[in-house]
Structure formats: structure tokens, C-alpha cells
Assembly symmetry: C2
Homo-oligomer: 456 residues x 2
């Protein structure tokens, strides 16, 4: 008799992985190195030590070590909110009347409301270990800033967050959660930095962007003794830390002998997707198994599906190293898109290389279809999803409906990165009918891409 | 060797209780019956059928059946978010440097953000089973309204919520969550009911109260064919449904051979406290075990500690039956107190009788000490607690600090009813120093109590 799969698969605490998995070790084509914007040469570790903690720089540049031990103090913290459940979406399957078997890994059961805590605690730990006084960062939708403030509070580090101005104003409660954890939060662009003042002078009415907030945070980190900059997505080190999502997912599936047909995740900078797929992609790279792996991005900010694979600036102020990635150009400003976490112009270098090598697919979805899926999911599965996560829900539902047509009982796994409690303005716009599907024209994208630096 | 207690004890799905426990069956002194306000006679079942669903009336009046089967459809729904974790507060113990062992039962991992879902799904189920079209209710802080809207959406019932006006205005996002689940939300007092219009005429600037919203919801339920009224606290049936909290808690503790010394819960109308303590109080009533059981209420609305035990109106409009309870008088208006869920003037009849019979203690705590505890808890345990829940945290911490002084390693269990994501205005006031500790004077309480009906 087939073993009954429970609604929620919880691993035991002693089954939480004790090592992160470094996907790069199994990639034949390694992700392209960061380049010094001045010389065009690959960045050396020493050049990065002024910006990032030393141990994190080592992780960033390590393309070879497959498994890296998770320090005990981080494992302790993980036990505060991990293991996270792998949920069998019985209610959703029933509502869709599909033969597909749907699972989601839910990372929202913690106060940051998302998976971001997996990397923030690691980055705060290494900062503390290096004897630093504090860290700076940017945040868009606010999940990363919240996660970092929680981690810094735990280790007694100062935490300075530059929050994209439009989010700062639209999400005062997110800001208040960060304050509860002792962080200082500054709307960006601000007059506290050279780059902020310059941007304010050029664009007085600007409501900010992630690229601009990054520039400000980096400037403060590099000009304040005892501080370093930390980042919640895009970087190799972040995907390393986030591999805990995929490792737990795989352990839970293996326990019940389940082999997924496809794995679906939303993709902004790639932190969730890269973490979720890590061990599965590893098997695929080593030729041990095959899976469809699908990145879902908003139609309003389609880095994979309509961007180009090239070296680009990571930030608006162009103070960061250059990264090779699928990009829409660092000047790309996504128009009204409430999925705040998916507005970045670029994409993780690791995922960009894997996508270019055809190890994964990508689709883009318009916003209203995303909220339609979000509302259905909330009603039948009882979890109000974050707009970001709802991109993955949308495509999981679409795939499950295809199964209904074909009669196939495929196994679908998707990442539910977080909850939408601080995104109710977006839900309100959806209910009121004032939400729009903004899709950039080819001309807009072409114009933005034409500003790429001439390197590589 | 002592068995290592995990950070989070999760029961398996097949360990979720399949029966609710009816505490009244073990009480020698039963809770006093509801009285007809016109005749002063105990309400008969038939008299209540116009207000409540029939099966729920039976549960309300059943003082004898100790265990009642949970219908399969409710058990299915419980699997969406239950079992809830019993957490060993290792981080809090360490922060307090106490020898006490602290556990909390966390009911906030669902979109309603609290334990209220345990009863709303039961009440919606019986309404559906009776063939009703919809239900009406009131909500203060919004947890109950959210929980009911989720339950009604699940069973396809219409849901009309009267939300205390001050909360409606301060918490637009709560309202939006209810809308996501298809409920209609009306600020109370409204011009949609006779009682609402009357109150608006008498007190044009009023920001509403729970007692007033109850009156409006009851009026609509009793005057609209196919509708009944449902309530999220105070009632015997609600405590019955909420016994699932205590039953799960006891099963989890028993698994590890843990016997608590004291059980602590916040008390507004008594839904959480009554549910959490149910099986423990049962043992105490049957003389099988002894526990300290502590109700925690806000100093601004101290029904147990400064109220009187007498028959009183349940609502401002005096349309409901009379209940015998610890009360501050139905005209009592608690002044600025952000713990919205603990503002009710009265208290569960069951708990009132148990308190009067000295089976439990009660303490009241001022608001700023509550938020001090809330912030500490958020920082070390990683969960941002609801203001209501934080009353229990405050007293759990105080008891743990007493253990530190005496060196006793007592085992403390408290109820963490929910999360505070929709209460950030209160946190903001606390951070900004604008929060006040309002404590009513003896004269104020005396004046309010003097309006009690002369019955019983």
C-alpha cells in the first residue's frame, strides 16, 4: 500500500542539514567572475575585503568546494524557525480538480516573513566573528531588511538599512518591525550619502530604486570604520546559504520516496530559486537525475525572458563590481509592480549561467494573473502569500491545469517564499480593480540595454 | 540520560485530537445559565435557535458530555494549520538566565494570525450543515473577523462582519485580508441597523465598542432570513472548540513526560485561556493533578481582578441574553488600550465560575510592561507577538525571573495566541514613547458596575 503523505512534512530537528551545498562545484561552466569596473579585470579577494566580510568573500569566490559546514551558532538560530514545512497542497489539488501532485516548501513562518533569514543570519554571524561593529544594506519590499535586523539583533550588531523610498512610505509597518529589532531605517535616496545627494539633485521627485539603495549602503559601509555591506540576493554566497531550502526539501521528499517532475520558483535576484533548486540541479549537472526547473519572473521586469546575458553594473551608482548576468540594464526602472522583491534589473550569475546553458527554463507572468492565483491559494490553502511567491503559485497552477487536460499525475514542487501580510495595499488594488498589467515595450528594454558597459 | 527536548514539539497529524473536551462535565459548580433579559428565566434551547445554529445551541447548553466528536470536515480543515507547535523557549530562558523551563503553545502560524480559527471553522461548519446562507459577527482587533472569513470562504457561506470603528480605521489591512476571503466588513456603529443608528444619534463622535458591534451583528442575524450570529469568545461552545489547544499541548508534554507547574494565558473573553487550560483544569477538578493556572488581563480592562461576579448584559444594545460573569459593567469603555482583543467588559461564564471557586488566579498588567516583554520576546524568540499574547509573555517572564531568584527550575507553559503583524501602530507608539498606561480609577469602575441589571 502506498504510504499516506501527510499534509505537512516536518523533518526532525536532527535532520536539518549541517552543511550548505555549493552548486558551483558541479557546474562545468562556472559563473563568470566579478570584474573591477576600473580595470575590467576579475576582482581579487583582497579587493573585496573592503566591502564584504572576509569569510563571505571566500564563499563568494569558491567555485570548487561542494559542501561547506554550517557553523554551530547558525545551526542554533536555524532551530528557531527551521525546519520549515514541505506542504502537500491537497486543498489546492482538489480546488483545481487535477491529477497533479503539488508540494510547496513554505518559508514564511518566521517574523521576517520569508526565506531571507537563512542568509541574513549567516552574514551577520561572519560579520560578528570578524569583530565588526555593524553592517549596511538596502531593502526593497522589506523582507531582507527585516531578516537582517533580526539577525543583527541576535548577534548584537548595528544594522543600517536603506529602504527604497516608495516602499518606506507605502510600508510603514515593515519599517516598524525593523525598529523593533533595533535597526535604523533610512528612505533612499537620502541626503546621507554622496550618491544619494547626486541622485536627488538629478531626479528630485524620484521614489528610489533597489540599485540606488545598494549604492548608498555600499558607500556608507566602505566609508565607516567597522562596517561592511551585506546583500540578500544575487550573490553566490547568498545562494549557498539558501541551499538549506532545497536540501530540506529533498530530504523530506526522499523520506517518502517522491521524485518531482518539475521545480518552480519565483526569481528576482535568484536567492530563493537558487536555494530551492540547488540539490536537484546538482543531480542534473552530475547526470544523476532530470527535472524541469522553471524560473518565474514578472512580465514587468523580465530579466531572463527579455534581458541579455552580459556584464552589467549591479547598482545605479556604479560603485559595485561588474557582474555577468541576464540583465535589463542597470538603468531599467520597472513601472508599477507591487511584487517589490522582483524588481531588480539583473539576476544571479549562477542562475544566469545555468539558464544560458539550458539547464533551466524561464517564464514571465503578468501581475493580475499572479494575484488571481494568490487569492485562490489564500482561500484554499489558508496562507496569504507574498506577491513574489505568488508568481510561482501562478505557474504551478498553470502546470497543474495542463495535467488536468492531459490526465498526467505529475509531481510539482514550488517554493512559497513568504507571506503577504505587509502587502495588503497591493491586494487592495487588485480587489478595487486599480491594479494594472504593465509590460515594457521592446523599445524601452532596448534603450535600457543599450547603456550596458562595453566589457566582456 | 534525560531525553533532549526539541526546540519545537510537533505532533504527528494522526495525533491531532479527534474529540473536543467539555470542561463543564467535570465542574461541580456549573457555569450559571444564560437568562432571558425579559423574564429573568434561564434561556431554553428554542429561544436561542433564532440567534445561534441549532447544533451550537446544544453545545452551548451541554454541561454533561465530557467529550464531543470533532466532525471529519473540521478535522480536515484543522490539518491545514494544525497541529500547532509547542515551543521550548530555550532562547528566552537563556536571555533571562533562569533555571525555569518555559514552553509556549504557538497558535499564530495561520493567516488569521491567532487561535480564533479553531472555533470559526466549527461554527461555520454547523451553519453550513444547517443549510444557512450566511453568518454575522463583530470583530475588535480583527483576528476573529479574519478567522471567520477564512472559515466561511472554505464552506461557501456569506460572512458579514461589524468591525469596531476605531479598529476599522486603524487597521485597514485587516479589513483587506477579510475581503480577500470574500467577507463584507462594516465599521460599527453603522447606519445599517436600528441600534447602530440609535448609538450614532446619542454619541455622534463614538469610535465604537465590541459591545455595540455585537448588538448590530445580532440585529442583522435575527432580522435576515437564513442568517445566524456567531461569536469568537466568551461562549461555552467557543471554549469547547478551543480545547483543541490544550489537548494538543497536553499530548505534546506527555510525550516527553513533562508536567507543568503553572499554565498562563491572556484573558479577554476567555477563548484562548479556556481552551489552553481545559484538560489541565479537568485533572485539577477531578483531583488527579494540581497546577497553578493564571489568567492575565490588561490593567486597563481588569474584569477578573477588579470586576464583580454578577449577571450582566453581554452587549451595549442589551439585545443578547444575560450572562453571569466577572464584569466591569456593559457600559465600561476601556480607554486607550492597543491590545484590542482584551477590551471586553465581561468574561467567559465557565472561567468566571472557576475563578470564583478559586481554581485559578488572575493578575493584571499595565501596557508598557507588556510591550517591554513583547519586544524582548520578539528579539530572542524570533516571533513578533500580538499585544494580547504579550500579556501572557509578561507574566511568564515575571514568573521565570522569580525562579531565578529562588533557584527553582519550575516548568512554565503559556499560550502564545498570535502574531502582531497588524498591530504595528501599537509597537510604533511604544517605540516613540507615546504609549500610556491607563488604569481606571475605583470611581470609574464603581460607576460602571452600578449599571448592572438587578438580577440573580
Amino acid at each position: 500500500m502506498e504510504q499516506k503523505i501527510p499534509y505537512k512534512i516536518y523533518l526532525n530537528e536532527n535532520e536539518i542539514p549541517t552543511q550548505w551545498y555549493n552548486l558551483r562545484a558541479d557546474m562545468k561552466n562556472k559563473p563568470a567572475p566579478l570584474l573591477n569596473p576600473g580595470t575590467g579585470e576579475p576582482m581579487k579577494a583582497e579587493e573585496l575585503y573592503g566591502v564584504f566580510c572576509e569569510e563571505l568573500v571566500k564563499q563568494e569566490l569558491d567555485n570548487d568546494t561542494p559542501y561547506i559546514d554550517i557553523p554551530g551558532e547558525i545551526l542554533d538560530f536555524y532551530k528557531m524557525y527551521r525546519p520549515s514545512p514541505l506542504v502537500r497542497a491537497y486543498f489546492l489539488e482538489k480546488a483545481l480538480d487535477t491529477p497533479a501532485k503539488i508540494y510547496y516548501k513554505f518559508e514564511g513562518n518566521n517574523t521576517s516573513g520569508s526565506h531571507k533569514l537563512n542568509s541574513s543570519i549567516a552574514q551577520a554571524y561572519y560579520a560578528k566573528k570578524q569583530g565588526l561593529k555593524g553592517v549596511t544594506t538596502e531593502t526593497g519590499a522589506g523582507q531582507w531588511g527585516t531578516a537582517l535586523s533580526m539577525a543583527c539583533s541576535y548577534f548584537g550588531l548595528d544594522c543600517k538599512v536603506f529602504m527604497v523610498k516608495v516602499s518606506y512610505e507605502q510600508k510603514p509597518f515593515r519599517r516598524e518591525v525593523m525598529r523593533t529589532y533595533g535597526a535604523s531605517v533610512t528612505p533612499s535616496p537620502s541626503d546621507k550619502t554622496n550618491i544619494g545627494r547626486k541622485i536627488l539633485e538629478e531626479f528630485p521627485g524620484t521614489t528610489g530604486s533597489l540599485g540606488c539603495a545598494i549604492s548608498e549602503a555600499v558607500e556608507v559601509a566602505t566609508s565607516t570604520p567597522g562596517y561592511r555591506y551585506v546583500l540578500g540576493s544575487v550573490l553566490n554566497q547568498v545562494l549557498l546559504h539558501q541551499s538549506i531550502i532545497g536540501l530540506e526539501t529533498k530530504t523530506a521528499l526522499d523520506k517518502y520516496g517522491i521524485k518531482p517532475d518539475m521545480i518552480i520558483g519565483c526569481a528576482g535576484g535568484g536567492s530563493n530559486l537558487g536555494g530551492l533548486i540547488a540539490p536537484f540541479m546538482g543531480e542534473k549537472l552530475r547526470g544523476e537525475a532530470d527535472y524541469r526547473i522553471i524560473a518565474v519572473e514578472p512580465a514587468s521586469c523580465p530579466s531572463f525572458t527579455r534581458g541579455t546575458y552580459a556584464y552589467d553594473f549591479c547598482d545605479t551608482g556604479k560603485v559595485c563590481p561588474l557582474a555577468k548576468m541576464y540583465t535589463l540594464g542597470s538603468g531599467f526602472i520597472p513601472s508599477p509592480n507591487h511584487a517589490g522583491g522582483l524588481r531588480y534589473h539583473g539576476m544571479s550569475s549562477i542562475l544566469s549561467q545555468l539558464y544560458d546553458d539550458k539547464y533551466m527554463e524561464a517564464v514571465s507572468v503578468p501581475q493580475r494573473r499572479v494575484f488571481e492565483a494568490a487569492e485562490l491559494f489564500a482561500r484554499v490553502e489558508g496562507i496569504l502569500p507574498a506577491p513574489e511567491s505568488s508568481h510561482a503559485i501562478r505557474v504551478a497552477i498553470d502546470e497543474a491545469l495542463k495535467c488536468k487536460e492531459t490526465g498526467e499525475d505529475k509531481t510539482i514542487v514550488f517554493g512559497l517564499t513568504g507571506t503577504g501580510y505587509f502587502d495588503m495595499v497591493a491586494y487592495e488594488n487588485y480587489h478595487d480593480g486599480t491594479m494594472e498589467d504593465y509590460i515594457p515595450t521592446d523599445e524601452e528594454i532596448q534603450k535600457s540595454i543599450s547603456t550596458l558597459p562595453q566589457i566582456g
